[in-house]
């Protein structure tokens, strides 16, 4: 009873709360990091150094008026933000946050579920999120929203190919689709796949930027051209849903990157004796640290690089990243057979 029902529920609640809090503070961190890069201070008014700013933002979004445009398709307009948010959240079901923990004499696996097709599950769930973007743009009955959503979905589909190809190389190295199995394969090999597959890691990083619509690929919401992209007509809580989904997706790709390329919950340098104290830090702390590092790279890139033009984006995706990813698969396969 406890292990079958209550434990997963508790874990789901913990993960949900953790993700939502992280989203709130990533938003604050993003504003702070950008401000520091541009030699500003960022939000400073709410609480010391603006630490309570996220609460103020949430309060604002809650009390804002929720507008449905006239002549919009009401049913689809309401459903679209939910269709975006739900896949972003359920993807966390297979992410292994830690190894097995022992608490009150109970062995608790540090994940919600270990599905043996875990990685494919993450990919397929991510594919569902596209609907929310297309439908949100279409149902608003607005040019900007429709153009933004078409751009966004085209971008997502294009870069999904390259990203999936990089995941194929990881699957080839690990020999399993289970997320826990992939981490254990890295433990067995003694190398994190990020170091064995630097090309795949790089392509994954670029593809992750594009798939989460982050700068320098934030064309779907290019303010100068498209007002705000597919969520132009949304306000209040529904807008907050889109916002939440975008950042939750950032966290999803970061956790997947951590699991696949950076060894998940494993501590670094397990075989260097004078660094063995690193093993005392619990696994979930390593996991969070790595995820946070990846998220920070997102913010760093946003503050540093200018936005791509649309044709440049497509050329980069189709003419460089996809062939490179396929070549990487071929080379990995050859090395696996020969070595």
């Amino acid at each position: 009873m406890v292990e079958a029902l209550i434990l997963p529920l508790v874990k789901i609640v913990i993960v949900l709360v953790a993700v939502l809090v992280t989203v709130m503070y990533i938003v604050l961190l993003e504003r702070k990091v950008q401000a520091w890069v541009q030699v500003r201070l960022g939000p400073m008014r709410v609480g010391p150094h603006g630490i309570l700013q996220p609460l103020a933002d949430v309060l604002k979004l809650f009390v804002k008026e929720d507008i449905t445009p006239a002549r919009a398709d009401k049913w689809v307009f309401t459903a679209a933000p939910i269709i975006v948010l739900v896949p972003a959240l359920i993807a966390f079901a297979v992410i292994p946050f830690a190894g097995d923990l022992t608490l009150f004499g109970l062995t608790i696996p540090g994940r919600i579920a270990d599905v043996n097709v875990g990685l494919l599950y993450v990919i397929s769930v991510a594919g569902i999120g596209i609907y929310g973007i297309i439908l949100g743009g279409w149902s608003s009955n607005s040019k900007w929203a429709l153009l933004g959503s078409l751009r966004s979905s085209a971008q997502l589909i294009s870069y999904e190919i390259a990203v999936t190809m990089t995941l194929v190389t990881v699957i080839m190295l690990a020999g399993t689709l289970s997320m826990v199995g992939i981490v254990q394969a890295q433990l067995a090999k003694g190398w994190w796949f990020g170091f064995m597959q630097p090309v795949a890691f790089f392509i994954y990083f670029v593809g992750a930027l594009a798939e989460t619509n982050r700068a320098p690929f934030d064309l779907p919401e290019a303010e100068q051209e498209l007002v705000a992209g597919f969520h132009t007509e949304y306000s209040g809580m529904r807008f907050a849903f889109y916002f939440l989904a975008e950042y939750a997706n950032m966290i999803v790709v970061s956790t997947v990157a951590t699991t696949l390329f950076l060894g998940g919950w494993l501590a670094p340098f397990p075989n260097v004796s004078w660094l063995s104290f690193l093993g005392l830090v619990p696994g979930w702390a390593w996991f969070m640290l790595k995820t946070f590092g990846f998220l920070y790279a997102f913010l760093w890139v946003r503050a540093t690089f200018p936005r791509y033009r649309y044709d440049q984006l497509m050329r980069l995706g189709w003419k460089w990243l996809i062939p490179l990813a396929i070549l990487n698969v071929v080379v990995t396969g050859l090395l696996k057979v020969l070595v």
Partner: protein
């Protein structure tokens, strides 16, 4: 018992969404119901211990094919509804024949087909990704290669058909 409840819920959802797909007035709504239908079918696959197929169903059907439909529905921005002039009686005779065939099919299943429930612990493990891969790359290698050629042909065909000038 739990399995039965899950099956009947899934079946009701599949048939309900299927009926909505073919009756919805707006084509976009129809596409949405199709996605929901495919997701329920994926749930059914999980119950049948085919998790790989369930995930492929979501990834290829819901995440790929239906997105294509949605794109086309949005591109084909109709000025007048396509159902405007059609004669419902035109296909009457064919419809009766089809209905008869379906009735015969149902009757045959009822009369002949009450199978025993599948024996658990057979040769098929629930973690059968490896088994599927092995079958695809050994016994079904030639169909597999033919399927890849089919996909290539479809890709080229779709580009040739849809592009304005090459």
């Amino acid at each position: 018992m739990a399995e039965a409840v899950a099956f009947y819920i899934c079946a009701a959802l599949i048939l309900g969404f299927g009926a909505l797909v073919i009756t919805a007035k707006s084509t976009v709504h129809s596409v949405l119901y199709l996605v929901a239908d495919f997701l329920c079918v994926a749930a059914l696959y999980v119950m049948l211990q085919a998790p790989f197929l369930a995930v492929i169903q979501v990834m290829v059907y819901a995440g790929g094919i239906v997105v294509l439909y949605l794109f086309v529905v949005m591109l084909v921005n109709l000025k007048r509804p396509p159902e405007a002039h059609s004669d419902p009686r035109r296909l009457g005779r064919l419809g009766v024949a089809m209905a008869a065939a379906v009735l015969v099919e149902f009757a045959a299943i009822f009369a002949l087909g009450w199978a025993k429930p599948a024996s658990a612990g057979g040769a098929l493990s629930p973690n059968n990704v490896e088994q599927i891969g092995r079958a695809l790359y050994t016994d079904y290698l030639i169909p597999f290669e033919v399927a890849s050629v089919l996909l290539l042909v479809a890709m080229i065909g779709a580009i040739v058909l849809a592009k304005r000038e090459l």
